[in-house]
Each structure stands twice: as C-alpha cells, then as structure tokens.
C-alpha cells in the first residue's frame, strides 16, 4: 500500500470502542432492496404504526406484497388499513418487540411453520427509536438480515435507506416497485 493510498482510505477507527460505534448500516439502493427480497428464501415485511396515518405507505405495502408475494407482519395497529385494502397479514397482534424476540430465536418456525426468516424488511415505524433498538437486538443476537426502508437512516440495520425527505422517500419506495 502506498502512502497516498493510506491517506485516501478513510480510516475512521483506532480502537473501535473508542468512538463508541462498531459498524453502521450500509446504505441500500431501492433496486437492491427489490433484488434482495427476490433472492431471499424466506423474507418478511414488517410494518409499523405509521401506516395508520400515511395512506401512501399502505399503498406501497399492498403493491409490494402483490408484486413479490412477501408475507407481511403488521405491528402497531398497521393491520387495520392493510386488511381494509385486502391484505391478510400473517400476524397482527404481536408488537414489534415480540416479533424481534421471535426472530432472534433460532428455533422459531415463523408464522408459517417454514422456519425462521432470513430477511426482515422494516417499514412505517412512527417511532424510529423503537425500531432502532430492535435492529440493535437483531444485529447483536440474531442471524437475520435486516433492511430498513423507513424514512430515517437506521444505523443498526444491516442495510438502510439514508435520511430522505418526503418526496425523495416516496420516489425511492416507487423504485423498489419498479424492479
């Protein structure tokens, strides 16, 4: 490695603990989200309470489900608008906390009995801090791949959208559907 190169490489860390963060989510592009869902063996989409107040999100979830067939776990009451739109979530009464606890358990058979999920995609959480904690739990204690396609960057996910303003955000969601 040449000296120039050494200086080009942004070496953020001396001792990772020293700066209090180990690793943050990689930014994921919409297309890649679509691809990952397709390639994954047992993916699941987990929706949050923001769907109760954001029709566009409901729209997106309905379309994604229709397009990819991905199962939906609805939390935070998000089942109601989805059911009204004809989607049947595979779970409705378990909070994100329960779902995360289950995902961590290697012996969980999933809601469909096919075994634990290999990819969990998260959307529509009104309270990003709740999702953030759950992603942290999944990062440290599970083998599940996590993608957050919420409006704010989620550092503890494996992959996340960056912080996006409203318009860009819906555009990004649309791009997932376009693939």
């Amino acid at each position: 490695m040449s000296l120039d190169k050494a200086f080009e490489k942004v070496t953020r860390i001396f001792n990772p603990a020293d700066i209090q963060a180990s690793k943050c989510a990689s930014i994921i592009k919409p297309k890649v989200v679509a691809t990952m869902i397709k390639k994954s063996k047992h993916p699941v989409l987990i929706t949050g309470g923001k769907l109760l107040e954001d029709e566009k999100l409901v729209d997106f979830v309905v379309k994604l489900h229709e397009k990819t067939g991905i199962d939906v776990i609805a939390t935070g009451g998000s089942s109601r608008p989805l059911i009204e739109r004809g989607i049947k979530p595979i779970a409705t009464v378990f909070t994100l906390h329960y779902i995360t606890q289950y995902l961590i358990d290697l012996n969980w058979k999933g809601f469909d009995g096919k075994g634990n999920y290999d990819l969990a995609v998260f959307i529509g959480f009104t309270t990003p801090y709740y999702l953030s904690r759950m992603l942290s739990a999944l990062k440290h204690f599970s083998r599940v791949n996590t993608i957050s396609i919420c409006e704010y960057y989620q550092p503890h996910a494996k992959f996340s959208f960056p912080n996006l303003n409203e318009d860009l955000y819906y555009e990004a969601l649309n791009m997932i559907l376009e693939v």
Partner: protein, 798 residues
C-alpha cells in the same frame, strides 16, 4: 398497644459506665406464622425468578455496542463478544438494567429514609401508622417481604435498614468481574424491584400517617391541574420535585401567617401530587414535561426544588429569567452555597435583589419562610412580569431558521421543527407548532444544537399558548391505600375474571405522540369497566384530559377501587399501594398468608390476578425499578416505545409449548396451560396496539369460564376495533366453548374447526378436541414446588 418505653438509655446500677440502649421494641405476637423468606437476601428468591425467567425470556436491545465501566476497557462487545473481563454483551446489558433499577430503588429508599428520619424527630418513634378504619393491612409489601406489621413510624427504620443493606449488596455485584449469566443479573434486578416497592410503601405510609393525607378515601378532593390554573395576580411559588417536606413547610407557613389566599402554591411533578394531598388548595402545574416551560414562562416568583425528576439546568434556566432558586436537597444542591443556618432576612434580601441566584437550605422547616417572603417581595418589587415572548420576538426567532434540521435529529421524537419553522417563516402560519406541542416533552435538546440559537421551546410555547392553557382540568388528590373493604368486594370478581382486569397507569410523560393518547387509552378501559388505578405523572396528565365540557375523567368516573373506577393513589411512592392492592387480594380474598411468603403470593398473582401496568411514557430509573418490582410480583406491564431504551424486556414465546405449564394442586398433576400472560414487559408502538395488549395481558390461567369469556370478549372486540381483525392468538385462550364470547360463539367455533383443526360437536356446540387443556372449575395452579407441596401434602420428585 401503647408503651411508655422509648429509645433511650437505662442505667443499671451494678454496671457502672454502662448504659443499655433500647433499640427496637419488637412486637412479637404471632399475627401470622412466618413464611419461608422473611427479609430475603439476593439469592433467597432466585428460585422464583428462575421460574419467571424461564418463561419470560429476557430480551436485550443494546443502546451502545460498548462498555466503559472499567479501565481495562473500553470494550467493543458487538455481536455478543466478551470484554476484557470476560463479560458478554447480553450480560453487560443485564448489568446496566440492574444499575437502572438500583438508582430507582435508591431514590425511593433515600426519600423514605429522609421522611422517616424527619418524622421520627418531629412526631417520635411511636407515632402510630394509622391509615384509617378501612385499612387493616397497612403495609402489604412490608409484611410480605420483611415479615412485620409496622405499628409505628419507628418500626419502619429497621425495614429501611434491611432495604439499604440489600441495595448495597446488589450494587456490589455490578463490580467488574462477577456475574457470568444475564439470568443472575436479572434475578438481582427483580430483587431490587421488589425492594423498591417496600421502600415506596414505607415512604408513603409514613407520610400518609403523619400528614393526614386522604387515607384510602375514594372521594379525595379534586385538585386544579394544568398549565393554565395559576392565578397570575398573586405571587407564585413553584415547587418542583418529589419530597413533600419543603412544600409542606411552605403551606404551613402560609397558613400560620394567614397568607393562604395571598400566595399561589403550585407544584410540578410528584411534589405537586403530595402537596395537594396535604393541602388540596395547592395546584398542579404538570409533569416533568412542563418544567422548562413553567420556568421559561417567567411566571414563578420563586422556584423551590427538592429531588428527583427535576431538570439539571433549573438554576441556569431560572437565572436567565431572573427567578431565584431555593434548593433543598442533598441530591440536587446545584452548587449553591449552604445557607441553612443564616439569618433569613439576609437570605431573602440576597435572593430578592438578585445578589444570590439561589441558595441551598437543607432544613425543610426553614424553607417556608424564605420561599414565601421571597415570592411576596419579588412580586412587590417587580410586579407582574412581561409575557416571556412578544409577537415580534416570535417572528424574529422564526426568521433566523435555515431549515438545517439539526434540531430534528437531536429531538427524541424527531419532531419536524424545521418544517414548522419554514412554514411559519414563509407563510406566517404558526399552526404546525401547535401540532408539535402535545408531543414535545420540552426537553430543550433541539436548542442545544440549533446553530442559530433559536429559542425553540419558547417558540413552540408561544405559538400554542392558548392550547397549552386550555388543557386544564381536575385531578383527584392521591388517596393512598386501597381499603380492605374494597378488596373484599372486588377480590372475587377479579380472580374469577368477571372484572376483566386492573389497569395501572403509572408512568412518566415521554409519550410516543400526543399526550391525550393516554386519556384515550384509559377511557377505553373505564368504559369497559376495568378498574383503573394511576399515579405520578400519568395521574396528572389524566387530570388535563378533558371533554368538551371541560370535565376530566376523574369527574366522570368514581374514585373507588371497583369496576369502572379511576383511582389516583398518589405520587410515585404511592405505586406501592397498587402492588399492595394486588397482594391484598391474595391475602384477603384468598386468605393466603403474607408474612415472609413472597413466592407463593407472586405465584398466586401471576396465575390469577389480571392486573397489568401501563407506563405509556417511562423515562426514569424509578420507572424501571417499579416495573421490575411489579414483574417479580407477577404483574406484567405494557410500556411506551421510548421504554425500549431501557434495553431489556421480558417476552415469552407462546409457541414454546414446553414453557407453559403449572402444577395443579387440585388434580395433583403438572399440566400445560395457555400462555397467559405471555410477557412481563413489552413495548407497544401506538395507542391502538397498547390497548389491545393491555386487554390481552389481563387473561390468566385461573380465570373461570365466565371471567375468561368476558376477558376474551373485550380482547376480541378491541382487536377488531383497532387491529381490524381477530387477534392471532385468541384460540390459545379457549379451554371450553363456555370461554367464548356469547355473541360470536358459532362463528368462533367454526374458525376453530376450519383453521385450527379442532373437533367440534356441533349439535351441542361443544369443543371435543383442540384446546391446550380441559377446563376444570377447581383448577388450582402454581409454579412453585413448595406451594404445591404445602397444599397437596405431596413431595415433588425433581
């Protein structure tokens, strides 16, 4: 039994130079045989914790990937790695949970110690603990854990000795290089939670007994509550904190000097509650979320702080507004000079003139005079203050905003200040701030990062002042304990399940969204005739939740511990009356012995009493330890989403069938049961979700079919209403067709047949096959071997 002998010295003639101090007069009459675990030490109830933890698996959501607790670190523990001391991330997080609980329990213990110490000095060790005629079990937590019936204030000292000893022992275990298993730290957290309820009980019964608070009175007076209640024409003393002593002295001073009607006494946080228990003419301004606002408003003429849940910038903020501060506690001395023993005249003059920004007065009995005189004198010299922000100022502030959104990312709620600012700046329309206000906890973090130095909190307050002021109503003053007669009345319906549940709303104000959501949740359960109990900040916020006619729930629902009642027990320490009530159900209705008999009672509660806590906001270490104490007692809690930041939850897995079993004392068999409740601590994201979870977690294995039917009816109705469908797991709770809601019976039987493969005898509309277990009216469940052995007379071979 009154005795003349007091603590003191007896001089014995034969032994010169020796005096014998009589320490404690212990009443040894055998009111109840001693149970297996009086004054339990850390490991004594570990077997019970292991039962709980086996089912309710601890769940960890780290806030950080690191540990810095010793100088071998910092250690990077991501993916459950081990640090330099060998601890792994999970265990490290459990350790931090213990720490949070310890801080919480210590707060109540120190508070209790302070009160008891003060009361012993003032009223003597023999001052009786008399909670009124209807409260015979005066201290259920103390009886249960410590094993005595305290008769006098002095008796409480040894209880605190014990609690302190245990807390220190647990704190010791946090030293680097100890526990290897997170389960053992959890057991310690549960231990601390239990101790916390004992300490809270000591604190509250001491003050109720000594200060003549309402004694379990369902009709305790209504108290004015809200940001708009203050009479601004009078000098205003604002008291912030949790320890009533300085506030009491202020009220007394006013009365002694005939100034009650001249000066406005208003409280923030739990001190507000306890002050109004002492004097219902005092007013409640609000919760922690109103502290910065109350100061920034410039209204108070003097601010008095005691301890806990007071902003750590109180002096700085007050000084900016020119408000003098009187600190009164060793826990929050604010760097102020200790002027306890100085001449009040000098102190008053220093504070009024601004020469001193604040003082520390350690003796609560000296606070009254100084606070009152300062308030009156400040008002006299300065008159009524200008409003904290003019219209022009407001506009000027908003103009500064660049829309950089730094405030958004520092805000605990990610409130879109940037959008509101830009909207106001461009359109002159400040309405978006009104949308923000009910969610904003007025923490001021946004201001810390704003590069333009915009007074964001003030901007929000100014823009929504009408709205803020109009959220004004009435709370019922904290009534303290639940009466034994009330327990006698509701014990059976609760245990049978015909009162569908007890909802205990007992948390802090950092709600996920608008403050009114708490009221909406609670109203749903009051209408459905659950018993609702409340305390602390939730109790105050409920007082501000009013209908179109301006009536709060306290005015619409009775204050009795009965179906459809709304009971404000009091401040944080009064939470012990809620655990106490649950314990008393086991004691009074079921005649289970209390004394030193923790595991049996907790086991009874877990299996039979459909009580669930709700902490919609729960920010503090005290909340962590209170909830953990409820959990050890077998009471689950639903908490708001911020509470994920406590890092730990207790969540069982309904699908692990092997974990859901009990010993049945009747059939003498170990049998599978429905997963009810299936969590001890779980966060909900939205109010919709919280409502459904609360109903769900009220279900208990020992419900009669009628009770189960009622509980399931509510659960299913609420799920349909808020989730749009039947809940996923309703069938797990069905033991017999009689459990099913009457109106839906056919429909549900069909689903059981079609979707779950159960066998149904359609002629008789009977379930033939399917449920986890058969329903048996005499079902008598326990998880505890020695309880099983006691009641069956048989030994379990393990």
């Amino acid at each position: 039994m009154v005795m003349d002998l007091r603590d003191g010295f007896i001089v014995l003639d034969e032994m010169r130079n020796v005096t014998i101090r009589i320490g404690k007069v212990i009443e040894e009459d055998e009111w109840e045989p001693m149970g297996p675990t009086p004054k339990p030490h850390i490991l004594d109830l570990r077997y019970w914790d292991q039962k709980l933890l086996e089912r309710y698996e601890p769940f960890y959501a780290p806030m950080q990937d690191f540990c810095n607790l010793c100088t071998m670190g910092p250690c990077e523990l991501s993916h459950n790695k081990e640090g330099a001391c060998g601890i792994d991330l999970k265990t490290q997080k459990a350790r931090l949970v213990v720490l949070a609980c310890l801080i919480g329990a210590s707060s109540h213990t120190a508070h209790a110690r302070h009160l008891v110490h003060y009361l012993v000095e003032k009223f003597g060790r023999d001052h009786p603990i008399d909670l009124g005629n209807n409260v015979n079990i005066e201290a259920p937590n103390v009886r249960l854990v410590f094993g005595i019936r305290p008769k006098t204030i002095g008796d409480l000292e040894m209880v605190l000795d014990y609690v302190e000893q245990e807390l220190v022992r647990v704190l010791h275990t946090l030293h680097t290089g100890q526990e290897e298993s997170y389960l053992d730290y959890e057991s310690k957290a549960l231990h601390v939670g239990m101790l916390d309820h004992v300490a809270m009980e000591v604190a509250d019964i001491a003050q109720v007994a000594a200060f003549n608070y309402p004694k379990g009175d369902p009709d305790a007076p209504l108290v004015e509550t809200g940001f708009g209640v203050l009479d601004l024409n009078k000098p205003v003393i604002l008291i912030i904190g949790h320890n009533v002593l300085p506030a009491r002295n202020i009220v007394d001073y006013l009365e002694e000097h005939g100034l009650e009607d001249e000066v406005e006494v208003a409280g923030l946080c739990c001190t507000a509650i306890d002050t109004t228990r002492y004097d219902p003419k005092a007013k409640i301004v609000g919760t922690l979320s109103f502290e910065l606002r109350a100061i920034r408003s410039g209204i108070p003429d003097v601010v008095v702080t005691d301890e806990q849940c007071i902003r750590a910038d109180t002096l700085r903020e007050c000084s900016k507004m020119g408000i003098p501060v009187i600190a009164t506690s060793e826990a929050a001395s604010r760097g102020l000079p200790d002027r306890t023993h100085e001449n009040p005249d000098v102190i008053v003059e220093d504070l009024v003139s601004g020469r001193a920004k604040g003082v520390l007065i350690r003796d609560p009995d000296k606070v009254g005079e100084i606070a009152v005189r300062v308030a009156i004198e400040v008002r006299k010299r300065k008159g009524r203050k200008e409003p904290f922000m003019g219209e022009e100022e407001l506009k000027a502030e908003v103009q500064k905003c660049t829309g950089c959104a730094r405030c958004v990312f520092s805000c605990p709620h990610n409130l879109r200040i940037d959008v509101a600012m830009q909207h106001a700046k461009k359109k002159g329309d400040f309405s978006k701030f009104k949308e923000i206000e009910p969610t904003c906890i007025a923490c001021g973090r946004c201001e810390q990062v704003c590069p333009k130095g915009i007074r964001i909190v003030d901007v929000i307050m100014k823009s929504s002042l009408d709205q803020l002021k109009s959220k004004t109503g009435k709370s019922r003053a904290g009534r303290g304990p639940i009466q034994d007669v009330e327990i006698r009345k509701v014990g059976q319906p609760i245990v049978m399940g015909t009162i569908p549940g007890v909802i205990a709303a007992i948390g802090c104000p950092n709600y996920p969204r608008a403050r009114e959501e708490l009221g909406q949740i609670i109203e749903e359960f009051l209408k459905r005739r659950y018993i609702v109990v409340t305390s602390g900040c939730h109790a105050m916020d409920l007082g501000m939740y009013t209908d179109e006619e301006g009536k709060s729930l306290y005015e619409k629902y009775p204050g009795s511990f009965d179906a459809g009642g709304l009971v404000n027990v009091g401040s944080c320490v009064a939470n012990s009356h809620i655990s106490g009530a649950v314990i008393k159900i086991a004691a009074i209705f079921a005649q289970r012995p209390l004394r030193g008999n923790y595991a049996e009672i907790a086991d009874y509660i877990l299996n039979r009493i459909g009580a669930v806590g709700l902490a919609w906001g729960a920010y503090s270490q005290k909340a962590a330890s209170i909830a953990t104490g409820f959990n050890r007692l077998g009471v689950p809690a639903v908490v708001g989403p911020h509470s994920t930041k406590y890092r730990r939850a207790y969540i069982g897995k309904y699908w692990k069938r092997e974990k859901w079993w009990v010993y049945d004392i009747k059939s003498k068999k170990k049998i599978p049961v429905e997963p009810a409740p299936d969590a001890l601590l779980v966060c909900a994201e939205t109010k919709e979700e919280a409502i459904v979870q609360l109903a769900r977690l009220c279900i208990r294995p020992a419900d009669t079919y009628l009770g189960r039917q009622i509980k399931l009816t509510h659960y299913i109705e609420l799920s349909q209403k808020y989730l749009g469908c039947l809940p996923d797991d309703w069938h797990l709770y069905v033991r017999t067709e009689a459990d099913l809601p009457v109106k839906m019976r056919d429909q549900l039987l069909k689903i059981l047949e079609d979707e779950h493969g159960w066998k149904i005898d359609w002629k008789n509309k009977k379930i033939l096959e399917g449920p986890i277990r058969q329903y048996d009216a005499g079902f008598n469940p326990t998880l505890v071997e020695h309880v099983y052995e006691k009641y069956t007379g048989e030994k379990i071979i393990r």
